[in-house]
């Protein structure tokens, strides 16, 4: 008789295999292990606690439904992160369609302002401790449009290549490249502005 799985001690691979056979306790252990990371990714994209909770839970439900499709080509954590990223992108696209926006605001998001920005030559992170720098980055990221924030998250933090980002965001590689370019420029400008504000 097979010994019961020691859930807390089991590896992700063992837990996934058990969950794929319908073991809900194994799935609960996976949720417990990775829930913070999945939630954090959702929050970084949508910047709203309630929405991030809902989206992360929706991601777990989808994961349960699609578990048999997970073949171990990436780590379980990466696979889960992709699911929640896609849900967040769908959510952000729907939210954007429902909001009336002026074309000037959209133009800004697409780089109208960034094209005119002078090059930032001083390092806005100089003299900052890591915690402080992270907080400042967080504040600056919160001020970006969702397209700019998403492309930065996917490239800089999820370490995805242009081609992968294009697939996830449903746009061309050229669009990814220009969004990333404008996002970086905007971020540099925002970080400088925050530095000037805090130095006053």
């Amino acid at each position: 008789m097979a010994s019961p799985l020691d859930y807390p001690a089991a590896t992700d691979v063992q837990l996934v295999a058990a969950a794929q056979k319908g073991d809900m306790l194994a799935f609960e252990e996976l949720v417990a292990r990775h829930r913070d990371k999945v939630y954090a990714r959702a929050f970084s994209m949508v910047r709203n606690e309630d929405e991030a909770v809902d989206l992360s839970q929706e991601a777990w439900v989808k994961a349960w439904q699609r578990l048999t499709q997970f073949q171990g080509e990436a780590s379980f954590a990466t696979w889960m992160t992709r699911i929640v990223i896609n849900l967040c992108l769908d959510h952000l696209r729907k939210a954007k369609r429902q909001r009336a926006e002026s074309i000037e605001q959209l133009d800004e998001e697409l780089g109208g302002v960034e094209r005119q920005m002078p090059v930032v030559s001083l390092n806005p992170s100089e003299g900052l401790e890591r915690t402080e720098l992270r907080k400042r980055i967080d504040r600056a990221m919160g001020q970006l449009s969702y397209e700019h924030r998403t492309v930065l998250i996917l490239h800089e933090f999820e370490e995805m290549e242009y081609k992968q980002i294009a697939k996830v965001m449903g746009c061309s590689i050229g669009t990814v490249m220009s969004r990333l370019f404008y996002a970086r420029r905007r971020l540099a400008g925002l970080l400088m502005a925050l530095k000037r504000e805090e130095n006053r």
């Binding site: 417990a32 829930r35 697409l110 030559s121 050229g174 969004r179 990333l180």
Partner: protein, 172 residues
């Protein structure tokens, strides 16, 4: 400095430039001070972000409470009957049945799923180099589709030649 060159610079910094693009960027870096300054800014942005992802926020719910909602939703979905597969013959039947039968057939047709009327507006962007933005202006009651070309200006729909009279076919 053209956007195209700036994007090649970025690709070079990200390790995604082709050998030809890399050579072009290296030449520009050697000869163009502004280009070199921009490279410095982009490198700095990359450096700041590397390993500095903002502190992960913790879930504001307990393990049990969080999972209880997930398992409840899974149970609810598993209790639902599978949706009936939409028949690819439904539209064909609608065309065949409508002129031939009578009131009863009309009732049947009206109750069949209308696949062409999903109630959701959809947009398909057919040009790779462009981005399509869609929104509804609630103040002006207008649906807008804006086509933004990221790399080259959109060459496909031209502004009027002001030296010629427009061709206009009034509805009046």
């Amino acid at each position: 400095m053209k956007l195209e060159q700036e994007l090649k610079l970025q690709a070079w910094l990200d390790g995604e430039a082709s050998p030809d693009e890399a050579r072009e960027v290296e030449q520009l870096l050697a000869n163009d001070a502004h280009f070199a300054a921009l490279a410095g800014e982009l490198r700095m942005s990359k450096g700041i972000l590397a390993g500095s992802e903002p502190e992960a926020v913790k879930l504001p719910e307990s393990r049990e409470f969080y999972f209880s909602k997930i398992s409840r939703e899974i149970e609810r979905l598993e209790r639902q009957p599978a949706p009936a597969a939409r028949s690819v013959w439904a539209s064909a039947w609608m065309r065949i049945l409508a002129p031939v039968t009578g009131v009863a057939a009309l009732t049947l047709i009206l109750s069949l799923p209308d696949r062409s009327n999903t109630g959701v507006d959809e947009t398909e962007n057919t040009i790779k180099e462009s981005t399509v933005i869609q929104f509804h202006s609630t103040t002006e009651k207008m649906d807008v589709i804006w086509i933004h070309s990221d790399v080259d200006p959109m060459p496909d729909v031209s502004s009027p030649d002001l030296s010629t009279k427009p061709d206009r076919d009034d509805n009046n």
